[in-house]
Assembly symmetry: C2
Homo-oligomer: 414 residues x 2
């Protein structure tokens, strides 16, 4: 609770924090149109109500036949078939095939009951109005997709805890599943504090800075599936923070505070968070740069994260600690893959042993692969991030990286 | 124009197509709130209206001093300073410092006029109400960020053609830039055709399939910054296609058609597209699987892409050919980095020489890195994509990939 922090390695802090959150996690669900569900997480296993395809279909244009009638057919010794009809797209195939009979069929068309293969049109020749030569034999079910080959009735399309991407949405719609039960989006309260902080819509006076965190954090929350509730700016005042937290606790599933910069603000922020419920503050201080003064708390069921006040630190920490919490709060079983690039760093980078460093970097494409050019700057420089493609991590067990060494760059959200 | 396609390598087709589109490109712009501009593209260079920081600030908590007064200070021989005040956060620093005077200051506070450095609080000791010892000398401007160090007045914050991410939005707001001029979102008409295609909200009869493409393509268009205008489903009918294209041409900046599957539909689709304006059809047939029957056309200023009717092929081709067109139509200078993973493939994969293949694959994490497990299936299986994390590319100059070889997996959109 004092200014002297006992620093925890970020990976350990994250693991501990998510574990504690999962212990008290209570997810609620809602039903919504499948077409709007991209990015949402399925609240239960969704199974196929019927097989897909719903009927055996041709996968090429050609002639539906009984495969055994084509055996032995070749360029030099074609087989002769009588064409007894055409399968219309979108209609049931009502044609019955007798031996050595064929029906014209198009890609996606329904296979007639007595047919078990399709000869590609390229391997046939029309010789009269109702007769064709076939130059190539087909085996049973060749050039078809069988009823249920994509999915059988009752098989799982999307499992509980799985994120719905465009392709899952498509799969659900293909099966006529137009409503899905998903977990509710976590509501994330966002509080900017600081006597020096004013709205970006306001002119600044000497000593003042504009609020950036409310907006960058709202964007980050939205990008990872949360519903941001920006509370606005409060002055560095213990009672105002208490009131704001009290108000947000009744409305939110998670709260982010960007802390005031005064020493007193830092003293009372952790204390006021602690009052909101047990277990309270779990971590106060991360062995990372930027982001050392971060607070991770769990008050009742509500994760509360105290972020550094300066926009670069707040955003970098949010990328690594807020995102996984929001993923967890929406019931996601498997987190999305971060966008990474392997690159050679252009300069020597030093770091303290035991501390994890994140350094903004620009990626430069060369014939020998990517170069990562670090962008140096003080940690309050949001524009250092705006000039960067991503972040280089110097892991905690490393005291630095030499120029030309290979690093992983984690790309920033688009 | 006939069924016999002259197949173009996809990379060459894409290059040719984007070049032709850029030749006739006319971008229009709109002004919008900066806070809503994430994902949009700046229509002009945006410069800083004032320096940032707007005043020289402390980057630590401590005492603002004249650096020269601290020279020689050490643990064994501290320097004594008189504390003449405290810089309040958010207020102009009105304190004047005389030699050997200090002012209490917090991170982000405005440096008093006569100060040129900050001594960290950890390197000081209070010895009376208004006197401190300083144990460590500071050099000029140590522990400060100078006025304009982040950006100077008139310098570029965001350049024309640059995408606005959360961090650019933050940088703009830090400078009080609350409105931005961006390129208008391209309106992308989406047309599903096929006698067999019905709405996902409808029960299917034998021979029918539900429309998936309207929805997966709308999602893809939205994800890359376009504004989808789904037109709905039309039957395989030359006149209906003509009417629909005519209607969409007056409303859209780009049109996607998922083609009907009948041979006649394939015959007339390219012809009807060709009628919409010159240069017309530029590519008909790509040497790729899936996606061979793709049509790339430019009619007047409107790119029209004919996609294969089956959902997997349409989505894979859209990922590689529709996305870059939408990026181009919104004036983007540099396309976003695709999300890639390097992995070892678990099975032998074969491909035709000269043909580029895209194979859905699941990524499996192991101690030795990622494995890519191909998901085989017929090309109309949207659920093969739903089971995949991404796509493995077998380049056109390759006839296959052996098990355990390293491949790049391009992750699907979330």
């Amino acid at each position: 609770m004092s200014e002297f922090l006992s620093l925890v390695p970020p990976a350990k802090a994250r693991e501990l924090y998510l574990k504690k959150i999962i212990e008290v996690l209570e997810l609620s669900t809602e039903t919504m149109p499948t077409v709007d569900s991209i990015g949402r997480v399925a609240a239960k296993d969704i199974t196929a109500p019927h097989p897909l395809p719903a009927f055996t279909r041709a996968t090429v244009d050609g002639y539906a036949v009984r495969a055994e009638d084509t055996y032995g057919a070749s360029e030099s010794l074609p087989a002769y078939f009588k064409v007894v009809g055409e399968v219309k797209m979108g209609q049931p195939a009502t044609i019955n095939l007798l031996p050595m009979q064929a029906a014209l069929i198009y890609t996606g068309g329904m296979l007639p009951a007595d047919a078990n293969a399709v000869v590609m049109i390229e391997h046939t020749q029309k010789i009269s109005a109702d007769e064709i030569e076939i130059y190539k034999s087909v085996s049973a079910w060749e050039n078809t997709i069988l009823e249920g080959e994509e999915i059988q009735s009752g098989e799982c399309v999307v499992t509980q805890g799985q994120s719905i991407r465009a392709v899952e949405m498509g799969g659900l719609l293909a099966l006529g599943i137009t409503q899905v039960e998903v977990y509710r989006k976590p509501r994330v309260g966002i509080l900017s504090s600081g006597d020096e902080v004013v709205s970006p819509y306001q002119a600044i006076l000497p000593g003042q800075v504009r609020d950036v965190n409310s907006y960058t954090l709202s964007a980050l929350v939205k990008a990872c599936g949360g519903d941001p509730l920006p509370f606005g700016i409060i002055a560095d005042d213990e009672n105002k923070l208490r009131e704001a937290l009290h108000h947000l606790s009744s409305q939110c599933d998670m709260i982010l505070i960007t802390a005031g910069s005064s020493v007193s603000a830092r003293d009372y922020t952790a204390r006021v968070i602690q009052e909101q419920g047990s277990p309270g503050v779990l971590v106060h201080g991360l062995n990372t740069r930027p982001g050392k003064p971060t607070i991770l708390a769990l008050c009742g069921k509500i994760p509360i994260i105290g972020l550094p006040g300066n926009p670069l630190s707040a955003y970098v920490i949010a990328t690594h600690l807020v995102k996984p919490v929001i993923f967890t709060l929406q019931g996601m079983r498997k987190f999305p893959f971060p966008n990474l690039r392997t690159a050679r760093v252009t300069l020597n980078l030093s770091s303290q042993a035991g501390r994890e460093d994140w350094i903004p970097a620009k990626l430069i494409s060369t014939d020998e692969g990517w170069l990562a050019e670090p962008i140096f700057g003080k940690s309050n420089m949001i524009l250092a991030l705006a000039r960067a493609d991503g972040l280089i991590c110097i892991p905690e067990d490393n005291t630095g990286i030499s120029a030309h060494e290979i690093v992983t760059v984690e790309l920033l959200d688009n």
